[in-house]
Symmetry: C2
Subunit: 333 residues, 2 copies
């Protein structure tokens, strides 16, 4: 029910996913009548498309605490309960991020050794691969221990979901300025330098995020959220400037008719939709946050991301890796 | 002597500034012989171009503490001493930001009521005007009081240097996510809401930085530095993607020959050079940080920024406004 468009984009995305994956089952969770009104010809998938009724909806601006305490029959809570109870393998939601984080942490719980989940997303880079960045807003601050656990989780995701061998992990810091970064970051750097399981390559600065020289970038959620949103904002700004440049003046307009297909292709290439689907890493089960403004194509990307994480058993792999690290830390003591 | 190119870009910029401003005097501070080797035909400006000898240079990666304790005859220290001693009205440096902050704070000092200076830069926006953002890296964290003083300083700069009437001031925060921002930000918001001198418009999120709906954006230095550098990084990334799009395939290449002048104009328009020159606001005198990689055109922008701040007496105006605010706060008590 979540996001700016609700069932009108989520249901077509779910049906496309059923088309793509012949062994996939989808539960649509929400007010039964409203869902049914959006379903037209789904006969080919009747046995794999299920409606799970939920009478309440959590609003996009509701406080996480309210989502926890009130609305026992919300579609978000019901979806997470399906995962908790083993009826579904993953939950994909376009709803209120704060509420999703809070409900998922309470209903599903975090993995042993993980204090708090982190929001993780894939960013494009110049090398044509992807860089996972976390945390993007689940934790306002992060202790050295938390940053270290984000590094482990990012490492596992990059290895399993993106197929990157021995991913390079960096901490986001500020370099040449007055202040050489937070104590928590320096301490996390020391902790990561003192282990051999993860290829920790040191600090990077934010202007290097898109260079593709590292595979995982770790930071606190306040910084990560601001950095990601600033990148969204400047991309929109630059694209608008570019359009203005190509449509002002007669010659520009003449040329722009020729060039429009190229511009459109460029826009598609940098379109954040194809990177839609942020993983709430550190939970015992798979929960994917789809962007509130995602269209059905972008929502399909998020569903496919969930499927990949199911196939690669990401939570189990994180748990194993965290246990290994704790074990090797014990041995070194 | 600072920056990636040293005197080879700084001296041509200084000479252009002398050409533009018939009443300007420039001190070039550094090793006399090295400076003289870069000066060719400056006869027209001999009476307005002065060399101030300094035998030492602070390296771009030297620690601020080392710059403070060692090198009593560094070009950076000598430049700031000229300002402190009233021989110069402003200092422009492309050198080590941390060292510049530390030396300026010690040698020149902050204004009454200002605990710490803040680094401030102009960003372009969709409305075609500029938005001042601070702090960009002088302070790793910022208390509510510091954020409030940044708001006052940004307000004054926007009014005086950019000629914006009653500038709109916002705090950078994260909105819809799990966590609704730091306590220091909420408290600063309360403090700014309780005064009537400054048009405080509330929180904005980082994706709105370039929308031009506010004139001043206030944040801590760690966040500001990361946001600004991420924007630099993604701009470079997008421009490279665009070039790739326009040079792959025969048709694209044919079109791109026509379109190249437009692309170059676009690049010039978004070129950060024209926004070069970050003000170290809150000091008793004017200190401008030019980007380390600035060419002589960009350096000229930074010098012109210093001249504007001298003409508008920015530090005096900040001092007056802070005094007014403290006075009105006392009256309200």
């Amino acid at each position: 029910m979540g996001g700016d468009y609700g069932p009108s984009v989520i249901i077509p995305a779910a049906i496309s996913a059923l088309q793509q994956h012949s062994d996939l089952h989808v539960y649509l969770v929400g007010p039964q009548q409203e869902i049914q009104s959006h379903i037209k010809n789904t006969r080919p998938y009747t046995d794999r498309l299920h409606i799970e009724p939920a009478s309440e909806v959590i609003g996009m601006s509701e406080k996480p605490s309210a989502a926890l305490r009130r609305k026992p029959d919300s579609s978000m809570r019901k979806s997470l309960e399906l995962v908790r109870d083993g009826k579904a393998d993953a939950c994909v939601s376009s709803g209120n991020t704060g509420a999703l984080m809070a409900l998922a942490t309470v209903l599903i719980g975090t993995l042993p050794g993980i204090e708090r989940p982190a929001i993780t997303a894939e960013l494009p880079n110049r090398k044509g691969s992807v860089t996972n960045m976390l945390d993007l807003g689940a934790n306002i601050d992060a202790s050295a221990e938390q940053l270290t656990s984000f590094a482990v989780m990012g490492h596992v995701l990059s290895e399993l979901a993106d197929g990157i061998n021995n991913p390079r992990v960096a901490l986001l810091n500020i370099g040449e300025e007055a202040i050489k970064g937070r104590d928590s970051i320096k301490l996390a750097g020391d902790m990561l330098s003192n282990q051999s399981q993860i290829d920790y390559v040191g600090y990077i600065e934010a202007n290097e995020i898109f260079d593709g020289n590292v595979d995982v970038i770790v930071c606190d959620g306040f910084t990560g959220n601001n950095v990601l949103k600033a990148c969204e904002g400047i991309t929109r700004f630059l694209y608008n400037q570019l359009k203005t440049e190509f449509t002002s003046g007669l010659w520009s307009r003449a040329v722009s008719a020729l060039v429009w297909p190229l511009l459109k292709r460029f826009h598609r290439r940098i379109n954040p939709d194809q990177y839609n689907g942020a993983s709430l890493l550190g939970l015992r089960e798979i929960v994917i946050k789809s962007h509130g403004s995602a269209d059905s194509n972008a929502t399909l990307f998020a569903i496919n991301k969930a499927i990949t994480e199911i196939e690669r058993q990401v939570p189990q792999a994180i748990q194993d890796r965290v246990a290994q690290l704790l074990l090797s830390a014990d041995n070194e003591d």
